[in-house]
Symmetry: C2
Subunit: 320 residues, 2 copies
Amino acid sequence: MANRVVIGLSAVVVAVRDGQALVLTVRAPGQPAGLPFGPFDPDGDRTFELALRAFVTAQTRFDLGYVEQLYTFGDKGRDAPVAVLEADDRAARVISVGYLGLTPHAVETHTPDSAWSDWLRFFPWEDWREGRPLALSAIEPALRQWANGSRLPRTRLLFALDGAPWNEERVLERYELLYEAGLTPEAARDRGEAPAPALTALGAALGEPMISDHRRILATALSRLRGKLKYRPVIFEVMPEVFTLSALQRAVEAVAGIRLHKQNFRRALERADLVEGLGRLDQDTGGRPAELFRFRREVLGARPVSGLTLPLLRDESASP
Amino acid sequence: MANRVVIGLSAVVVAVRDGQALVLTVRAPGQPAGLPFGPFDPDGDRTFELALRAFVTAQTRFDLGYVEQLYTFGDKGRDAPVAVLEADDRAARVISVGYLGLTPHAVETHTPDSAWSDWLRFFPWEDWREGRPLALSAIEPALRQWANGSRLPRTRLLFALDGAPWNEERVLERYELLYEAGLTPEAARDRGEAPAPALTALGAALGEPMISDHRRILATALSRLRGKLKYRPVIFEVMPEVFTLSALQRAVEAVAGIRLHKQNFRRALERADLVEGLGRLDQDTGGRPAELFRFRREVLGARPVSGLTLPLLRDESASP
DNA sequence: TCAAAAGTGTTATCCTTACACCCATGT
DNA sequence: ACATGGGTGTAAGGATAACACTTTTGA
């Protein structure tokens, strides 16, 4: 049927555990992974956000806490999530509204098809905590070959080639460049082609594909979250009530994909007056016990609050 | 017909002229002003952005330059722009996708129904260039009466009451608070009521309403743009090829709604290496001639660039 | 000669960066 | 005792905020 539009909602639900940034994924048998998603019912759903909370809870038993809208994708030919649709809607144009959700509870999921996945599976070139990622070196030749010429300056900037500095926020632009360069399985899929052999040769370095435009939405979420860390105290939305400063730093590092300078991070925290020591100690650190802190959530209503500065830890020769 | 969705695209097209921030508006006879808008055709339009560029050009003869997506609104009951719809679609749920466009050409529009409007008409409390705006003092009592109690801290923060600092970026949050407080004609309209008399008594201080959710979209655009000034050099998208530093500063001030410190603004510009003096002078300044500058657009591809810092000019007792 | 706007010099302070070292626990 | 991680002091350099003054034009 012509002239029909269907709205699909997708959720990027992020948690952090043991220094890993995790994202909630669902997987149908024999399919690539995907994000939790569902259709928006124009008759029943009052707002996008309510609809989203409802189906994420239904699929995974979570109550989402922090939620924000990311972006609405409407390009023709970027493989709409047909799986959502009822038979009747298969000919409809699908518009995809992406959301970001944060939760401190990375407990096991309660449905067999959903799981927490380290998001580095999908973007292995985004983790610079142990120095320049191997995945990046692996794809660099293919990137250069594609960029060759007028696209080189931008490619250099995005992927930190030839001494350009790494900017951790530009996850989406990097993914879009790789897509445009034909270096993602999704690009071939959307053109109705089989993946190029050169591409399979690169293996895991290009990251695992996702169904539909979900990897694009995930990239959008990462970009947004990495940027937002700096101007809103969102990191606390993935922390438990009580935490050590090292755990907090590891969480920020996992999200931002870079290593931070310990003292400068702490000094900035202290100046911002965002956390409060509890006097109690965590004995399970493996070394000297660490003091436990809590987020002073009350400051949110009381004064303007920015996020955390991310004082970069310089190279250190990058070994594990 | 049940279960149908229609997508409406709205454009906030911003220009700056003579220290005024202008926005392109359209107006049907006997109606409040609105933004240029049009339906998205799921069969014909390949992307939102292409559809948007096409109908803005059709309505106003502009070629949009810089364009970015703002937000997608889907709340039931925030008065969908029914005027867009064909007769057949009147029962459909309307989803509204807002876009921001910037143009340096604030020439007269070429259609009788469109015009450039100073956006302060819609948000008179957002201009702090001449000190605390009178409109704010006018609505403060009504705000306090509504806030009274648990909502007071947030209201204070947003509207700079009781000595709280003004944050120019939070345009949307302020508008949404006013809407929630019933202090906008749109709120009554969406409930199917007549505007409260107390509201009309405040007159222009509450700003001119717009059709549908267009004032909300405009507020979103202002928030985005004011924030973006600081981390991307977007201000140059509303400047002519060649300009004086004072004109640049006035443009930033018009958008941000605050006064800046001249030398510190210039020092920051110089350090960022974003502009280049041309050696030529502008004789029409009314005082000493000013050197003409251009934006070094080539830096965009060459290195990471942030926006401009906004060194606040302190009070100065706020007289014109 | 004066009003109007352009354009410059300089200092105090604060924040960021970077250096290196000490502390408390378990094995 | 020593490995492991927790936790701190301090100084250099750079960015910001704030002070006021000089220059060049038109009327």
